[in-house]
């Protein structure tokens, strides 16, 4: 529209600019979406493809919420009135069958079917998991060694601008002006800055070993499930420990340590000798992490087909680890869930758990069960952890 020369640049009463009911209700809508998404945590956790490499967020596609109304069943056909040059029998192209009836009703302006991409922080999802699963917080085991760390302590009149304590400074100003009402509102004398001090505290380090069976029998899908599982375990442990070392070990009939990037790409062939993996873990643990002042976790993912003659060595290696570690967990990935409890490795972990060592096993059929597995292990671990530094006395975790 052409504007007239009489138009002034700002003809509007600014008061109306203050209305933001639309945005407010939109925020409420987003809030509800987040609540709705939260109810589908297992699916989010299962969607391993949403985990960006190294990212701290996951993206979930969601639909706009629909405020439901009574509506007639969509018969797939509709009629209407149009205008233009057309005579009976004409076919006017292919309309979009989706934009059929119902869209024209009184409340038909809902943006139904519009997809949004919501981003969630991994930490947020972990918090939800913890709340939903009602898991207690992990009890870190403090070692004899100590760390030093900065802690907030006291106030001073000098300090960095970023540590200005406004509330306290204002109190000082109020006090001063109470004595002398004519003095200025603020002076440099009023300013108070928070101070930091180095404090020694017990070290709370943690290391988690992800041991993956990459033998020929592990399919691509099995590795995906393992990856998803490991991701959420690591996120869960990070929730508790400020510094978490992650060690990736893969094994077939032999075992190697990998960096994260290569770890999930490794494909091996041939048989499975679990004891090699356990031995490697133990070797790394002894050389780099002292279990006495470090919380060591082991999570092992496999399809459970361990070589029959490996039973004795595997058992002794695993026992050695379980005795010093906070927890040793085994996740069995088996397409046929029925087979689960009979597998060689599954039985091995059952036996270890029966002796009272902090360990557990869980069988999953696919990615959908991953959140159940995470829940199982963390519930079991915190139960074991609640027994304090005497894991040998902890009751075994039954599947």
């Amino acid at each position: 529209m052409s504007k007239d020369s009489e138009t002034e640049p700002s003809p509007v009463n600014g008061w109306y600019e203050l209305f933001s009911r639309g945005s407010r209700d939109w925020l409420r809508h987003s809030e509800k979406i987040r609540e709705a998404v939260r109810e589908h945590l297992p699916q989010i956790v299962a969607g391993s493809d949403i985990i960006n490499h190294g990212a701290r967020t996951v993206r979930v596609p969601v639909r706009m919420l629909e405020h439901y109304r009574f509506r007639l069943r969509d018969s797939g056909e509709s009629e209407g009135v149009g205008q233009g040059k057309a005579k009976p029998g004409d076919v006017l192209g292919q309309g979009n069958p989706q934009s059929g009836p119902g869209q024209k009703g009184a409340g038909g302006k809902e943006g139904g079917g519009t997809e949004l991409l919501l981003e969630f922080k991994v930490d947020e999802i972990i918090d939800w998991l913890w709340e939903d699963l009602k898991l207690p917080n992990l009890q870190p085991r403090a070692g004899p060694s100590e760390d030093s760390d900065w802690q907030r302590e006291g106030w001073d009149r000098r300090g960095a601008r970023s540590r200005l304590d406004r509330r306290r400074s204002f109190k000082e100003s109020v006090k001063r002006r109470a004595k002398d009402a004519s003095s200025p509102a603020f002076t440099d004398e009023d300013l108070r800055f928070r101070q930091l001090k180095r404090r020694r505290q017990p070290a709370m380090r943690a290391a988690v070993f992800f041991l993956l069976d990459v033998s020929g029998s592990m399919t691509e899908r099995d590795r995906q499930v393992s990856k998803t599982f490991f991701f959420w375990v690591a996120a869960g442990l990070r929730r508790q420990y400020r510094s978490l070392d992650i060690v990736f070990v893969a094994h077939t009939t032999d075992a190697w340590e990998f960096n994260e990037e290569d770890f999930f790409k490794v494909t091996g062939s041939g048989g499975t000798v679990a004891s090699t993996g356990f031995a490697k873990v133990r070797e790394i643990m002894q050389s780099r992490f002292n279990p006495a002042n470090c919380n060591v976790y082991l999570f092992y993912a496999s399809d459970g087909d361990n070589a029959a003659d490996d039973r004795i060595p595997a058992r002794s290696e695993l026992e050695a680890i379980a005795k010093v570690a906070r927890y040793a967990g085994y996740i069995e990935i088996s397409a046929a869930a029925t087979r689960g409890s009979q597998s060689e490795t599954f039985r091995l972990f059952q036996e270890i758990a029966a002796t009272g060592l902090p360990s557990g096993q869980f069988s999953v059929a696919g990615a959908d069960d991953v959140s159940a597995a995470v829940r199982h292990f963390f519930a079991a671990e915190s139960q074991a952890g609640a027994q304090g530094a005497a894991p040998a006395g902890a009751p075994g975790v039954s599947p």
Partner: protein
Amino acid sequence: MKNGWRSHVPKLEDLARRHGLDWAPVIFEAVPDSFMSEIAVYGLPVRMPHWSFGARYIYQLVQRHMGYSRLFEVVFPGNPGHAYLASSNGLADNILVTAHVLGHADFSNNNLLFRRCQDQGSEHIVEHAASHARQIERDIESYGMNAVEQVLDAALSLEQYIDIDQVLRRERYPEYMPAAPQPTDDAFRARFALLDAGVAAPAHLRKTRAPLPPHPERDLLWFIATYAPEMESWERDIFLAVREESFYFYPVYATQIMNEGWASYWHARLLREADFIPQAAYLDAIKCHSDVVRPIAAGEQIALSVNPYHLGFTLWEEIVKNSGIDAARQMMREDDDFSFLRNHLTREIATEMGLFRFQRQQNGQVKVVAGDIEALQESLLMDKFNFGAPRIAATEVRGDGTLVLQHDSQLDGRGLDADRARKVLAYVKRVWRRPVLLNTVDAASQPVVHSADSAAA
């Protein structure tokens, strides 16, 4: 605010008055586009908060960014009426819009449906809606967002379910069946009355409780607010607030074609006769007018919808030409879109306008179909009955408090969308606080009962 159009308002009003337009005073305000979008979404300048408006708001915002729609003006009937003009309007737009608003104000002041709804409710719907909104904000503070939202979910999902033929402030049903007609005094009665009083205890004086509801009740908002077994009084108030706003929306909805046509007729006519408008502004205004009443988007040959401005405008032009302005004013007073189209959309006009009926088939193919003028009229009106919502009435409240709803699948021609129906029943159940059932038919036209908890089909 001072781009000059205000000086034209009194002159346009004078001109309109000379033509017999008769309206309550209108307050004109120029508001930013964001506010215009909010009005379009909420339907009222200040209205209760609900997340579903938020979803529509974003949708509208996207549409606006893509340049789909531009709102020039929104007018609310009342005494005084309120007209909101987009501040991005130019002088020419505003002159046109002012004339248009006068047409609307004349319409809502005289049309009987509008009058009835204003007499029922009030002439201050804008203020009432704002006070509903304020009350609901207070409820949120007192009872929490979730509690209030649950009530609004239910009330707004039933917002089309009012009975426009009832009064706004309805009384409860009589609790007892009406007494049998009093026997007339004949010779027998006279002698009977002489008998011992104990013998004559007349059976007809024993009261019978009336069934609830005594007849199928379409006014679901009122029915639930009045008869829900355990609703809190603030919850009932929310239902009645939504109902009052629906009473306001009904005439707007049911006379859209007439009303927009009438306003377009008058803005065109006033503009033609307003010699005080500068030449340049006049040309711009005429261009704007032709955009508004354009039947088909520029560059298109065929539209699969009918522009209500164009349809209404064409019909009013025709009526004034053939029957004169007095007859037109009478129709304006007495008709709504149903009678207006059925009485005045003739075969000749429809042919001249190039209106046609089409059917969209399951594969998405759109086919033009033949049919008489009645079929065309009914097609145009199809979405207008009952705000375009399926016909559902409350038919029974059982002994255990179960509410039974009945869908008129015969009239609507098919059953309900089962998933959505269950979701709405779940909303309603939370305020009714007893089971809620709904009778309708399934895809095979077999009777089916839905409830909030029935498993998805």
